[in-house]
Symmetry: C2
Subunit: 416 residues, 2 copies
């Protein structure tokens, strides 16, 4: 089954909006064992007709995003009806939905919005609970007279409308079109603390022995998703192999990132964490506070760039700084232990390093970093790492390493 | 001049990589007054040939990204040579560059890498100082025998290689192709603290009076770029109008974001800032420390979610918390003033609010936030704002408002 994706919107071509929908749809389809053969962006207006026609001549399924709104340059609906030779008819159900939607806001349905209730004859309406424009599914048979045999799906452009429609309405239809649709499953095993090539070395050969299992790697922010898809029994067989070989490197099997996992573990245990950051400059604590509910587990967060701040706020000794320098095992240990003490937390994470681009020395080049964890009633552990490269990547990987130390401590497993 | 963009790479279709190159190129071309008519992603392999051929039949300029590497599925070079009927010849200059590149790393140039030195006869080599694969420019004449009249540019996929090549080598060639290329300019006036629709209302009608000036709006992270392009005299004329009407809302005219502007202003003045964050959870301080050199201006950063932490670290009075609640003007003022005092800084920023999704009350719904600035020898100012919606957006807009208060204080202009 050949699938094409047509994204409509002049703003995408001008670069005012990054086309994140394409990647997201690609991932969703890959999990179904389907691949996008081509993706095209066409500007609003007549080019939409050409884009959809070309894709429909080449492919069995065409997913179109955008161009369903009320403005004049939103023409996906009209272009598709014309292409397939179908009249547009006012749909009573959609009209009722629009009346309710605008009624709640004290407005009538104006002429422009009314266009959104027009449906090509024979098309199926895909309800959109998060916006005014419904999606539409034109089954393959509708275009037969014109020599077109593609299923055409028209979907809204805004991600918050597109994603639930894709997951709840479009994917079930696609599942029904593939022979093994009902028995298919997909699983993402998120690994951290180990590079992609090492993951490949540990699992790839073994997984390739499982005939029919599809395998993909998706590089995330400081982690790698191992994606298994295919018949659900094969996926489970593959997952057992990955669990056996990747063991404690697996952070989650439900796409949760490490900060979500760590906050959940802390909440379960009713424990508190604090942070003391030099080089990561708040990136670490910000990741924790990105998680809803983190206020129940985050005691205090400190950003201490200057040596004076490390002494005053964390109790790092001046002689430790003088003897070892700020980027050292001795200092990161005192930062973590001082943070634990002053914040009265159960765990404290600390990081000190050279984020760059300036500040490197021959024995402590840019990218050098120490991270440490201290816990009430547990040993303080420190690790030296090296992340040369851009500042944002340095912050990301350093915070990832610190969160991983905390995750392992919470689970009682040692750092590898 | 019709331009198409062809991005190659199976990883883009699988969604493992988001195609940020397309938006970036779209913005660069828009600044030249050029528009991408269509953008296509094709997977690695034979589909690259079809993708380039179709684009070259439709357009005068085809920009191709990716597929220049040493692996077997990198076929952009070979497909283009075949399409245009040009033999591939070993280029001595590129070969020398590869020998030097690998020599420095103690390796010979292997057979796979040697492919990167093959150049279609008549093509121009575009040097790539940041990678091993040079870009290639096939001028329009080369394909005339095959009925093709497009300029084809092959460019590397990795953004750190693509961007300098595009800016330094491709754009000058494109400028040469457009009648007013030498006299064209583009200017981005970055505005913050004011919504897009208000910006439009202030400037659009006036700018439309300047015939030949091109205008665009690019929504950024908490700011809006007003993009002016066209003849350099028109751009200057438009910029004067924007400066007059937008005044202090303009943060930069060189694409610097507000944290870069603020860190630069603090460095000039040799002043220090500290931060006290509740609801933004480190997002604010992390933005400051994203700027290289921020270690010279950031004194201390505090994340104080809990009331106890606000009292202990910032000296907020228990009775202030009890009487007003944590999300209040009185508390945010005490946070800022306490932070200023304890950190011994010149300026302190504070934020306290309800980030959500939980924690809202009828009189303080999710999205309610107070931000404040305190300065040595200056008045403390506080603002109440309301950013309902997703947590990441709440953090972004709240930190933007705080940085804007600091920018205005540093420049001695009042908050509007």
């Amino acid at each position: 089954m050949r699938i094409e994706l047509v994204n409509t919107g002049t703003e995408l071509l001008l670069g005012d909006t990054i086309n994140t929908n394409a990647a997201w749809i690609g991932q969703r389809l890959a999990a179904l064992g389907l691949e996008v053969s081509r993706q095209t962006i066409v500007p609003d207006g007549r080019a939409v007709f050409e884009g959809i026609e070309e894709a429909a001549r080449r492919s069995g399924v065409v997913l179109v995003t955008g161009g369903l709104g009320p403005t004049n340059d939103d023409v996906s609906r009209e272009c598709t009806a014309e292409l397939l030779g179908l009249p547009l008819e006012l749909n009573a159900g959609v009209m009722q939905w629009l009346s309710d939607y605008f009624g709640k806001r004290g407005k009538p349905v104006n002429e422009a919005s009314r266009r959104q209730a027009m449906v090509p004859r024979g098309a199926r309406v895909l309800e959109n609970p998060f916006g005014t424009a419904p999606g539409l599914h034109m089954p393959a048979g509708l275009g037969a007279e014109r020599g077109l045999h593609a299923h055409i799906f028209l979907l809204p452009g805004p991600p918050r409308e597109l994603k639930p429609m894709m997951e709840n309405l479009v994917e079930p239809i696609l599942r029904g079109m593939i022979p093994d649709g009902d028995t298919r499953a997909a699983l993402y095993l998120k690994c951290t603390g180990i590079g992609e090539s090492d993951i490949v070395e540990r699992i790839q050969a073994g997984l390739e022995q499982i005939g029919g299992l599809e395998l993909g790697y998706c590089i995330g922010k400081g982690d790698v998703d191992v994606r298994l898809s295919g018949h659900r029994d094969l996926v489970e067989q593959g997952a057992r192999l990955v669990r056996e070989r990747m063991g404690n490197f697996i952070v989650s099997e439900d796409r949760r990132v490490i900060e979500e996992v760590v906050v959940a573990l802390l909440r379960e245990r009713k424990q508190w964490v604090s942070t003391a950051e030099s080089c990561t400059g708040g990136f670490l604590v910000n990741r924790l506070t990105d998680v809803s509910g983190s206020s129940e587990v985050l005691a205090e967060g400190f950003v201490t760039y200057a040596n004076g701040a490390k002494q005053k706020l964390l109790g790092v000794l001046p002689e430790t700084l003088a003897m070892n320098g700020a980027v050292s095992e001795a200092v990161v240990r005192e930062m973590a232990e001082g943070c634990l003490r002053t914040a009265g937390a159960d765990h404290a994470l600390a990081a000190t390093g050279v984020a760059g681009p300036t500040g490197g020395t021959p024995d402590r080049p840019v990218g050098t970093v120490w991270v440490a964890i201290a816990s009430r009633g547990g040993p303080t552990e420190a690790r030296k790492l090296f992340f040369p490269g851009a500042r944002d990547r340095f912050k990301l990987l350093t915070s990832q390493a610190a969160l991983e130390m905390l995750r392992r401590r919470l689970l009682g497993i040692s750092v590898e």
